[in-house]
């Protein structure tokens, strides 16, 4: 696949001078970067570097944490999501998130996928089952589960439960999908399946993934951001970050010397 240059890309999420404090502790320091539409962007860095915190800023998942303070700007398609008039439910519909542990609801497979559209007010059964099929097909699960849509989602394997979480997201037609270590609890085959799926999903969505696994970032992303102690150290094309990083701290991290 040809690498597209930033000027051919459409900025989807723009982060500008983002500071985040947990009480006295500053977890993000003047972070500025642009996530582009239909790209997979990986955020890497050692534990505690702020990568998950940054990810969670993108759909305001940090808001509920007591003592938190966010300064700076995060814009989705040019609109500040920290603006006073931002509707959080709507934001999280547009910017969905998948977590490390697949958090399926203790409901049937069908109800897991239909849950979101129902919450957003869809009642038409035919339309709902269409969405369920399309969403499960989008994550490659449809063939496996079509005959048992009414069994509990908890009966699925861990890898399939994670795929179901993605299907649940896709069902509400988000624009951006945030993945926080989505494969770290999964076996290698399920991991590769998630990575392949990201490549498929990027045709329709903007994908941002936080991962500890550098090889995963290298395999599955177009662009990579490296963070250290709350700062964005380097951001560029994945192929450049992993073959010829410009910053010596990035160099040390990706070669295992940090």
């Amino acid at each position: 696949m040809a690498i597209r240059q930033p000027n051919e890309l459409h900025p989807k999420v723009e982060v500008k001078d983002l500071d985040l404090y947990y009480g006295q502790h500053q977890a993000l320091k003047k972070v500025s970067l642009t996530f582009y539409a239909n790209q997979v962007t990986a955020i890497i860095g050692p534990s505690g570097c702020g990568k998950s915190t940054l990810l969670r800023c993108l759909n305001r998942m940090n808001d509920t944490i007591p003592g938190i303070r966010v300064e700076g700007r995060v814009a989705l398609d040019g609109t500040d999501i920290y603006g006073r008039r931002q509707d959080l439910t709507r934001l999280r519909k547009s910017v969905g998130m998948v977590f490390q542990r697949p958090n399926v609801f203790p409901l049937s497979i069908l109800d897991n996928v239909a849950y979101g559209p129902k919450v957003h007010g869809l009642k038409d059964r035919a339309r709902l089952s269409e969405i369920v099929e399309r969403s499960l097909a989008a994550v490659g699960l449809w063939g496996e589960v079509r005959e048992r849509l009414n069994v509990s989602a908890l009966e699925l394997s861990l890898g399939n439960r994670q795929l179901l979480c993605l299907a649940r997201l896709v069902a509400v037609e988000p624009e951006v999908i945030l993945l926080d270590e989505p494969a770290s609890a999964l076996d290698p085959i399920s991991t590769l399946r998630i990575e392949e799926l990201m490549r498929e999903l990027q045709k329709e969505y903007t994908i941002i993934i936080v991962t500890h696994n550098m090889q995963q970032a290298a395999r599955a992303s177009d662009r990579t951001a490296f963070m250290l102690s709350g700062e964005l150290v380097e951001y560029g094309e994945t192929r450049q970050i992993f073959t010829n990083p410009r910053d010596t701290r990035t160099e040390r991290y990706v070669t295992g010397k940090l």
Binding site: M214, F242, T243, T255, G256
Partner: protein
Amino acid sequence: MSVRESFDRELQVLQKDLLKMGMVAEDMVHKALQALANRDAALADTVLAMDDDVDRLNLDIESRCLQLIALQQPMAKDLRTIAAVMKIITDVERVGDYAVDIAKESVKLADRPLFKPLVDIPRMAELVKKMLRESLEGFVTRDLNLIHQMIRHDDDVDHLYKYLFDELMQFMEKDPKLVYQALHLLMITRSLERIADHITNIGERVIYMETGEMKELHA
């Protein structure tokens, strides 16, 4: 402080073995020229035997590079180093092959005195050996000045090659009896010129390893 000490150690050993391989190749060029100058067929045989060592090192280093890539998933400069080693060994192996060609030519010339004393061919060989040392030292020390120095020597080698080509042609035109020797001497100069080209490839890889930039060094 690296958390990948065993990997770093393996990478060091790999580079040391490449250096060893390069030194064997340099010695082969040296001995092949001595065999020519001293009409020493036994020494020429030694060169042929040394080529087995170079070939063995080539395969051994290549398979270790592949193992490191598969098992350690190297990144950034580590990856570039391994990629450089994999390319460089091919060029060093070719240097060895050309030294063998020179040794074989020297055997063909050993049975009678040469029609002229050897002056420019040994000069060319000295330059080539110097180039090989510069590129390998540049590889080890990451000193790109050595690489640029080596490239200047490549220009000298090219000039000598053109000069020798014309000179040997003239001998052949003047006296058909000289064709046999002149032709074999020409083959030797051609081999030396080819060796120098492979050495510039090594320089390109050292630059890539250090800067991440791929560029052609040939003038």
